[in-house]
Amino acid sequence: MYREVILDHYKNPRGHGVIEDADAEAEGFNPLCGDEVSIYVSFAEDGETIDDVKFSGRGCAISQAATSMLVDMAKGRKAQELADLPKDDLLDEIGIPLTPIRLKCALLGLGVLKVALHRAKGTPLPQEWAGLDELELK
């Protein structure tokens, strides 16, 4: 399960940090295991293309590595594309079989990104992440 690419993203996360004055941001946590992820997005001048993504948080190797992989996938793409991104695209990238509990870890970052885009751009938020949106509101 802890194959090389996962361990690489876990130990050397891409885009780890915070964007001050981000155009879109959200945070979420996984109450089952306490994984926490905050995602910050800045858009290019067209207001649609994702110029930069950063994330902070703490949690298991799967949640952190998956969010790091998501950062690689997200840069340069349009907000709408990511709002529509099927979760299987990220899971294919992760490329390991995940039990239902670890699936929640793996998809936390993607859910948080969708919430951030939903708030900033009004992109649709799939039902399965609606709860995350509520959870986060402190």
Partner: protein, 417 residues
């Protein structure tokens, strides 16, 4: 139940007891099972499985209804289990034992059926920072619903309750409920319930004790504890899931409103109104978990035969051994009180590695531990962690399983650090 392994000195032989548990006969990921998650739920011995099966095969029908032979046998089995629970808890009357689905439902029963009618603005409900959510969330909810104040008794650095802060905590309100667990499921701390009960009674408050984690591992004598309500569950003490019990003082149970309503809990039903049945029927609406109750009784017989004192001693030894072995690892931090003041539970973290990753790699080694917040988020906040790893022991746990845990932790470090 004569065929349980016990020696003269009441020191149990865990290796021999393991033979009673079919679960250990298989390999997990090609390795023998090291099951270190008994605090979440325990494994089941053949004696309990056989009792349930035999009951279904020879004595099953609904209880308290039919006049035929099977119905009488089933009723005798179900009510016999209640007597076993009453003896186990040293209740002064069998009628004081109410069957529930689990300890959580027992506490909800008290929180709703007692709390809704007896709490209001100006009243105070005290829980502890150690509480399992089962004895925290119901009280928080009922306090908010009734306008009562909800307050929390803090812990010291070793994970033991700050009894010295009790009087300050009561300031400016009428304490009506004190709710505390007997044994912390996260840290293994054994709480001074007798002292809390005495303090509660000085203020005419009721003491509600969650003994879900206590009853499997030490003698629970409700009269000695001095509590007013004590909730236990079968699945943590070698019994089936889906059945538990709450013991309560008869005068309180009699004064309470019902919790669930429906069949069996009534005395007389008319269109205009309904009168309630006698305690404990008043609290047992609908068909109960009949065979599970029989299994509950068989589980109590099993652990009583082994001996609660022997179990407690065995777990102390295992906790001490685990703490000693984990202390060899400078990158492991353990939480909770010293071994002599804790039950067979050890919570720990591996430096910079999330408990889920630890648990997943250990699983590959056939070692089952719990990783998470253990339904104790207020406690995790106090410890300053999101989650911990937890190894917990029972009468069938052997030191070799702890050695395999330590070997597994070395592997975790090798992969993830």
């Amino acid at each position: 139940m004569a065929d349980v392994a016990v020696t003269e000195t009441r020191k149990l032989d865990a290796q021999k007891l393991r033979a009673d548990f079919p679960i250990f006969e298989q390999l997990i990921h090609g390795k023998p099972l090291s099951f270190l998650d008994s605090a979440a739920s325990s494994q089941k011995p053949r004696q309990v499985l056989d009792a349930i099966r035999t009951f279904y095969e020879t004595s099953y029908a609904n209880v308290h209804r039919g006049v035929y032979e099977l119905a009488e046998r089933a009723t005798a089995g179900y009510e016999g289990a209640r007597e076993t629970v009453a003896r186990f808890l040293n209740a002064s009357s069998t009628r004081e034992v109410v069957f529930t689905r689990n300890a959580t439902e027992g506490i909800n029963l008290v929180a709703y059926a007692w709390g809704l009618n007896n709490l209001g603005p100006g009243d105070v409900v005290v829980v502890t920072q150690l509480e399992h959510h089962s004895n925290f969330v119901p009280w928080q909810y009922i306090a908010h619903r009734t306008g009562a104040d909800f307050r929390m008794l803090a812990l010291d650095e070793q994970g033991e309750l700050r009894l010295d802060e009790l009087d300050d905590l009561a300031g400016g309100g009428r304490v009506k409920v004190v709710a505390a667990g007997l044994v912390s499921n996260s840290l293994g701390s054994v709480n001074p319930v007798e002292k809390l009960a005495a303090w509660a009674h000085e203020r005419a408050a009721i003491m509600v004790c969650d003994a879900a984690q206590g009853a499997p591992h030490r003698v629970v004598d409700v009269q000695a504890l001095g509590a007013d309500f004590v909730a236990i569950t079968a699945h943590k003490l070698c019994g089936p899931s889906g059945i538990g019990a709450v013991w309560g003082r008869m005068e309180l149970l009699e004064a309470m409103e019902p919790f669930n309503l429906g069949g069996h809990m009534i005395s007389r039903v008319r269109f205009e109104d309904t009168s309630w049945g006698e305690v404990p029927a008043k609290f047992e609406a609908g068909t109960q978990a009949i065979a599970e109750a029989v299994g509950f009784g068989a589980a109590i017989d099993y652990i009583s035969e082994v001996g609660l004192d022997a179990i407690e001693r065995h777990e102390h030894e295992l906790a001490a051994y685990a703490l000693e072995r984990l202390a060899e690892l400078p990158w492991v931090k353990t939480y909770g009180p010293p071994a002599d003041r804790r039950a067979g539970i050890v919570s720990f973290n591996v430096e910079d590695i999330h408990p889920h990753d630890v648990a997943q790699i250990l699983d590959g080694e056939g070692v089952a531990i719990r990783a998470g917040h253990h339904c104790c988020q207020p406690l995790m906040a106090k410890l300053g962690v999101a989650a911990t790893n937890r190894a917990s022991f029972y009468l069938y746990t052997v030191p070799d399983e702890i050695d395999r845990l330590v070997d597994g932790l070395h592997k975790v470090r090798k992969i993830l650090s």
